[in-house]
């Protein structure tokens, strides 16, 4: 059956927990290319270099009534007194659902920037950026 994916199909899981009140996420993959063109060539040639993955997400700063606040947990990955250490990676799954089927990209990442604030007439949200470390651990898109 034909399927057009929309924001309604999007999910974001951090450390195995599906985040509530996610308004957007995005992922960018890059491949560095190393030029191998030699003198005498008329067209440039390349060999693959290293890859990198990074992305961002926007999560509402929302308390579900039980004390759970996913945005706060993400913010605390950077906003912490003790500083960030090697072990402060998060297990991120960027997901599109299609019924019972999950289309995932999974990676270990550092939260590299967080931004949140409060404005009159606006909902407070946490905007986070992340940088993957190492290879993707799952790709089922």
């Amino acid at each position: 059956m034909a399927k057009v994916y929309t924001g309604r199909d999007g999910r974001l899981l951090i450390d195995g927990t599906e985040q509530i009140k996610v308004s957007s996420w995005s992922l960018t993959g890059n491949l560095e290319t190393l030029e191998t063109t030699t003198l005498g060539d008329s067209q440039r040639t390349y060999t693959p270099g290293v890859q990198e993955f990074s992305g961002s997400a926007s999560i509402l700063y929302y308390n579900d009534g039980t004390g759970r606040n996913d945005a706060a947990l993400a913010l605390k990955k950077v906003l912490k007194i003790a500083g960030v250490s090697d072990g402060d990676t998060v297990d991120m799954r960027l997901r599109l659902v299609e019924g019972a089927i999950n289309h995932d990209v999974r990676l270990a990442a550092y939260i590299t920037s967080v931004s949140f604030g409060a404005s009159v007439g606006e909902i407070t949200r946490a905007d986070i950026s992340f940088q993957a470390t190492g290879a993707l651990t799952e790709v089922t898109i």
Binding site: T36, T37, T38, L39, G40, T47, G49, V50
Partner: protein, 124 residues
Amino acid sequence: MAYPTYAPTGRSFSAGDYPYKTFQSQNGKEVRILYGDKRTGMTLDLSYDNIPDTQADDFVAHYDETKGGFSSFALPSAFRTGWSGSAAAIDAATGNQWRYQEPPTIKSVRPGISSVTVKLIGVL
């Protein structure tokens, strides 16, 4: 082994000069004495970017074979790849051969891939 026959990704050639000395008198008059009829001291910088490590180590093997900058050698035509002018114009001029001016440098780019830089000088 002979000098590796890979096409370089970059090449820079300087033509050298003839051996002469310049003497300048107090009134500014300049006198030059020519000591030889062969141009020498040409320099050639070759770069081989993003090549496999198995090719990069060939340059070190050749450097060993020439005992570093001690022995001189001729270059294979591959170093002129892409040059459509006279072959002799960017080679060691008559009577000259190349020797290493500096040790070849190998910069590791990623696993299995390196970039090599070679600096040569023409000597009689």
